[in-house]
């Protein structure tokens, strides 16, 4: 696909994202927002994973985004969409700290460090009630909250932007540096790439992206509480979606988020009354998915089409 066609496609998607929510019944708006926030955090997680950085700290970005947006709006009383800037700034700043502090940690060690930092943020949110409301939580100023349709449009537009960023990054030369870092940072350095710079860059981008998802969810629920804003489940779903859809691919998080939403809705509707059974079914579907489609949904498509590897002549 040529770049012009991709740009046109993105424009169309953006228009659809903005218009369609106003035409949908409320329950579909709810699905759209849940899909979109999941997609944002999945794309964000996938970007880091592509560079070999397995994050268990995405709930930290999410929570920071949620709290910074809520507190900012409550203090300044500016329209809801302005709060995306402090959310992204804080998410990016946290990403920078994470990359800076973890230095050259890799694999499991990096994952554990990110988990610890996200958990630490949750505890901090609990321990400073003067700022965050502590365990009692924090309400966002009600009259600033956007209508459901507006918020859905806003969020879907964000996801189009996130997927676009991920797509253009995958076509750039940086992609190869990041992908090679996954194999060996030392070997990449021998080719004249500064791994520290790329590591910080991708974590900052990923952090800012994940924080926007937290910001949206804060406006959607209108209420924040450390246990929910820094929930480990956020981190888990951020990695299940790309895994299920196709790890390290651009389309993977998109298909994965859709599939997860469908699976969770179906299991909830069918087994909703027997608590826990829905989750069990959900779990079984995921395990089967990972076992029988190691390349995820994207991998399955590729296998069916037997497409040869993309040519590098264009680079």
């Amino acid at each position: 696909m040529s770049t012009t066609r991709v740009v046109i496609l993105l424009g169309v998607l953006l228009a659809v994202a903005v218009i369609v929510p106003h035409l949908l019944p409320p329950v579909m708006d709810d699905w759209a927002i849940r899909f979109a926030t999941l997609l944002l955090i999945a794309v964000s997680w996938n970007l880091m994973a592509n560079a070999g950085l397995i994050s268990l700290g995405h709930s930290g970005f999410w929570g920071l985004g949620a709290y910074s947006a809520g507190l900012f709006a409550n203090v300044t009383q500016l329209p809801f969409w302005v709060s995306i800037f402090p959310a992204m700034a804080l998410g990016a700043a946290f990403g920078f700290c994470l990359a800076f502090i973890t230095g050259r940690l890799r694999g499991l060690f990096f994952a554990i460090a990110t988990l610890a930092m996200a958990e630490a943020l949750r505890v901090v949110a609990l321990m400073v009630p003067a700022l965050t409301g502590g365990a009692e939580g924090l309400f966002l100023t009600d009259h600033l909250r956007p209508s459901r349709e507006t918020l859905t449009s806003f969020t879907l537009a964000l996801t189009v932007a996130a997927v676009a960023i991920s797509y253009f990054l995958s076509r750039s030369r940086y992609h190869y540096a990041l992908r090679a870092m996954r194999d060996s940072e030392a070997a990449v350095q021998m080719l004249g790439v500064n791994p520290a710079r790329f590591r910080i860059g991708i974590t900052v981008l990923s952090g800012a992206m994940a924080a926007t998802a937290g910001m949206v969810s804060a406006w959607y629920t209108g209420y924040l509480e450390p246990g929910a804003a820094f929930d480990l489940k956020i981190t888990i779903s951020a990695q299940i979606a790309p895994l299920f859809g196709g790890l390290y691919t651009v389309a993977g998080p998109v298909f994965g988020s859709m599939a997860l939403l469908v699976v969770s809705e179906v299991t909830r509707l069918h087994f909703g009354n027997t608590a826990g059974f829905g989750l069990l079914a959900y779990g079984i579907v995921l395990v089967c998915g990972v076992m029988f489609m190691p390349g995820g949904i994207v991998g399955l498509f590729r296998k069916l089409r037997r497409r040869p590897r993309a040519s590098m002549e264009a680079v």
Binding site: R173, L191, V315
Partner: protein
């Protein structure tokens, strides 16, 4: 060419380096002149690769001065040294197994200085290693060891080197492939690129190198022209004699093979 004829491309003065508390390279001074092919010889554990790591910046120098093209680069980080012109084909190849041959090569030319020469360098390495041009879209990890070694050298060449550092290019390769690889190194040298070669395969190394240093226990114990080293008692003792003590029969066979190898390389 004698090293004194022109200012050296690379000069290490009194270099010490190692890991943690253990000093592996002990007061080593070497120099590589413009267009020269210099080899570092030595047995297992002599410190050859450690010295190479210090030169390419993967390991800091504990003491000493490293000068590259008139600039003190002792403190320069590894990725900047690539931009300055030191490109390494590392020990054990270290190609990116999941990336294609082409992607590996493009990554080799990632640094700013090399980017504008990408097409020329691609043509050059495909000319040098036709095997690679047949396998452009193949994942590097699925190629044979010899092909991966060619790729590692080609990837370093993509970086537009002013000094090509080759660490054990013969490691783990069949004798026939070693010949092909060393033929390629000869061609590279003839094109005027300065080469620093680390090798255990002494004879093969001395067929392409003009000069050599012999490392033992982290110190330079001998240096001289390739011819001198080839005939030196000390080399015979250090690399062949040591094995003689053990299993005579095996060594004679090994020796015959090595001799044949050196002979063939001379013809090529």
């Amino acid at each position: 060419m004698s090293p004194a004829a022109s200012p050296p491309v690379l000069e290490l003065q009194g270099g010490f380096t190692g890991y943690g508390d253990s000093v592996v390279v002990n007061d080593v001074s070497i120099s590589v002149g413009q267009g020269e092919v210099v080899c570092l010889l030595g047995a297992n554990g002599a410190g050859k690769t450690t010295l190479m790591r210090a030169i390419t910046g993967l390991l800091p120098l504990m003491q000493g001065r490293l000068v590259f093209r008139g600039e003190d680069i002792s403190k320069m980080p590894a990725h900047d040294r690539v931009r300055a012109g030191i490109c390494l084909s590392p020990e054990g190849r270290q190609v990116f197994p999941e990336l294609t041959v082409m992607e590996n090569l493009v990554l080799g030319g990632f640094n700013k200085r090399a980017r504008e020469f990408r097409q020329r360098n691609l043509d050059r390495v495909f000319d040098l290693f036709p095997r690679l041009s047949e396998r452009k879209t193949q994942a590097a990890g699925l190629m044979s060891g010899g092909e991966q070694q060619m790729l590692a050298i080609a990837r370093a060449l993509m970086g537009e080197p002013k000094l090509l550092a080759l660490d054990e290019p013969s490691l783990g390769l069949a004798p026939k492939i070693v010949l092909t690889v060393f033929d390629a190194i000869k061609t590279i040298a003839q094109s005027g690129i300065t080469i620093l070669l680390v090798e255990q395969n002494t004879r093969a190394a001395l067929t392409v190198a003009e000069r050599g240093y012999v490392l033992s226990a982290g110190k330079i114990v001998h240096e001289g022209s390739a011819r001198e080293l080839m005939q030196s008692e000390m080399i015979q003792k250090a690399f062949i004699g040591a094995i003689y003590d053990g299993d005579k029969k095996r060594v004679t066979r090994r020796e015959r093979r090595l001799a044949a190898l050196a002979g063939k390389a001379d013809h090529a």
